[in-house]
């Protein structure tokens, strides 16, 4: 084990050029980033983008092929035993014992770290108190939202300094999802560093900073607001009664930079950078009218998802929207 790291490093995680391959698949392709102490940091990307591989490396469960990562100042390879005492990890798949009760699962995880539920109660109370009425229920018989709270309690019972949550909200309904993010905000307010992954863009706004990941690399890393603002071009919402017909017509419009469905509306950018937004909107409206399509074109604020689409299109032109 190497020398004791600084007591309160400004960066909770420093990753430099992480590479991980599985056979011919490159899961991580030279990933570098820092997470500041006390941050709620999100990795946002699709299934297969490399999020789980990254989390396993940071949680000392997988050794990178190249590159280094330090978590709380400890090297994830050479200092793994010291580091394991200080991290909490909640894997994406429910990894508790289905045949043990709620209380037995928690007691087991406490005992692994040489502690007890009673001693750590204050730390886990905000979450565990919601489960206590069901503490004798088998874990397998819990609802999705409750399983998730039990898994979080088990990841927190040894009072870690940093928490890794791999897709904690996948498959959970919108109400439980919101409650879960409220819990994370509460834990963060207590000083815990939290790193979370999700495929859902709308969860980005709950994070202090996010990294957009794709094919083992980072497309953007910043605050959610800054990533959205980095879109950098006028964006328009097109609202019409025939959404599909309008989409097809805009694809044939010579000035189209990009167009894609976005919820109830279509998002459109004009390929001509110099055209004033009001003019671009009016021109598109009259073009659509000439095709027999009634649609309203209005400027709209880009979201983080718009930026993600733009960066993906630039990185993978064959996929362009």
């Amino acid at each position: 084990m190497s020398a004791t790291p600084a007591a309160s490093p400004a960066d909770a995680v420093v990753a430099e050029g992480l590479v991980k391959r599985f056979g011919s698949t490159t899961a991580l392709d030279g990933m570098s980033f820092q997470v500041h102490a006390g941050e709620l940091f999100g990795f946002i990307g699709a299934d297969g983008a490399g999020k789980t591989t990254l989390f396993r490396i940071l949680a000392t469960l997988l050794v990178p092929d190249a590159g280094t990562a330090r978590v709380l100042g400890y090297d994830v390879v050479s200092d793994l035993w010291a580091l394991r005492q200080r991290i909490g990890y909640m894997p994406g798949r429910f990894a508790l014992y289905p045949d043990l009760s709620v209380e037995e699962n928690l007691r087991f995880f406490a005992s692994v770290f040489g502690t007890t539920i009673a001693r750590e109660y204050a730390q886990i109370a905000p979450i565990y108190s919601q489960l206590e009425p069901f503490k004798r229920r088998r874990a397998a018989a819990l609802s999705g939202g409750m399983k998730q709270k039990l898994a979080l309690s088990c990841a927190l019972v040894h009072r870690p300094d940093i928490l890794f949550l791999d897709e904690p909200t996948t498959g959970v309904d919108a109400v439980s999802r919101r409650e879960f993010w409220d819990l994370l905000a509460h834990l963060r307010a207590g000083g815990l560093t939290i790193i979370v992954s999700t495929p859902y863009m709308d969860e980005a706004s709950r994070c202090d900073r996010v990294a957009l990941v794709q094919r083992g690399g980072i497309l953007a890393i910043d605050t959610p607001a800054a990533i959205a603002a980095s879109f950098g071009r006028p964006l328009f919402a097109v609202r019409g009664s025939d959404r599909y017909g309008t989409l097809r017509a805009i694809r044939e419009y010579p000035n189209t930079g990009s167009v894609y469905p976005f919820g109830e509306v279509l998002h459109f950018t004009d390929a001509r950078a110099a055209t004033p937004p009001a003019g671009a909107a009016r021109e598109l409206e009259s073009y659509l009218a000439s095709r027999g399509l009634a649609a309203a074109v209005t400027p709209t604020e880009p979201t983080i998802e718009d930026t993600f689409i733009a960066r993906l299109s630039a990185a993978q032109p064959e996929q362009a929207a």
Binding site: G45, A46, D47, G48, A49, P126, I127, S129, Q130, P133, S143, G144, G145, T170, G171, V172, D173, A174, V175, S176, R177, R178, D182, L183, A185, H186, A189, P199, Y200, M201, D202, Q214, R243, Y244, G245, L247, Y260, P261, G263, E264, E305, F308, I309, L312, S313, Q316, Q319, A320, A321
Partner: protein
């Protein structure tokens, strides 16, 4: 039978013992509509879908799906609908062609017809060269597009989709929605269930089930206006947890009053 309606449910009800899972729901889905069917876990969504797909007999009320009475013609209902769940629609260990043949066989399509439809489908998806590839070797986005097309192979009038765009990148997701819009444009009704409100935003109309009943029904725009909410997520949470939206922190069973949770 009204041909412009894909689903017509009237007072549809299902009880299990003393528990009423679906409580007199009434709604219509128009042909060619993309309809989102939402609800929190335990709200009765799954029970309702099992009835609408002919898998579970109702305790009361009636429904006509794809022109067939779900009570007396459940086999005909099953034949005229398609179904795709996010993860389990295709067999990973079979090739693209084998999956299509299997599926076509289940629906009794003649082999020549299966071949013709397969050719058209693979051309449209740009997957001609992957015909002999194992499904497991395809990227997730391709698998989803293929699963959707396979669910349409027997030309059902309604296709049921369960969280169709979960876990894919934002571009793949949009390509998938375009496939859905294209199918709807061609007259297929698309019935989407999802936990994700940003996915629900892509539907023409949505309904939100609460405690066995339909708590709200309308276009995403109408529902946001009706509830004075900025997002469908807010609409959903208000419906599912009214005490929470009203700011009643510390309600029984919910002792935590998280920071920043003010209404």
């Amino acid at each position: 039978m009204n041909e412009s309606l894909a689903i017509r449910a009237r007072e549809l009800t299902r009880t299990f013992g003393a528990f009423t899972a679906v409580d007199h729901i009434t709604f219509d889905v128009r042909a060619g509509e993309v309809f989102g069917f939402l609800g929190a876990n335990g709200a009765g969504k799954t029970t309702a879908i099992r009835m609408l797909t002919g898998l579970l007999a109702p305790s009361g009320g009636e429904a006509v799906v794809a022109g067939h009475d779900i009570r007396t013609e459940s086999e005909a209902v099953k034949r005229d609908i398609g179904y795709m769940s996010q993860r389990f629609s295709l067999y990973d260990d079979l090739t693209v062609r084998e999956n299509i043949q299997l599926y076509g066989g289940i629906y009794d399509l003649p082999p020549a017809e299966i071949r013709a439809r397969m050719r058209r489908m693979l051309d449209r998806l740009g997957l001609q060269r992957s015909e002999s590839a194992l499904v497991r070797s395809l990227p997730l986005g391709w698998k989803q597009k293929l699963a959707f097309s396979v669910a349409l192979l027997h030309e059902p009038r309604i296709v049921f989709l369960d969280e169709p765009t979960g876990g894919v990148d934002p571009i793949t997701r949009r390509q998938f929605w375009e496939l859905i819009y294209e199918a709807a444009h061609a007259g297929t009704t698309v019935f989407v269930t999802t936990h994700y409100m940003d996915e629900a935003e892509y539907c023409d109309r949505i309904s939100i089930m609460v405690a066995g009943r339909i708590g709200a029904l309308g276009t995403p725009h109408e529902l946001k206006a009706q509830f004075g909410a900025a997002s469908l997520d807010d609409v959903f949470v208000r419906l599912a947890r009214p005490e929470r939206a009203a700011g009643a922190a510390g309600a029984p069973g919910e002792p935590l009053a998280p920071r920043g949770a003010t209404p």
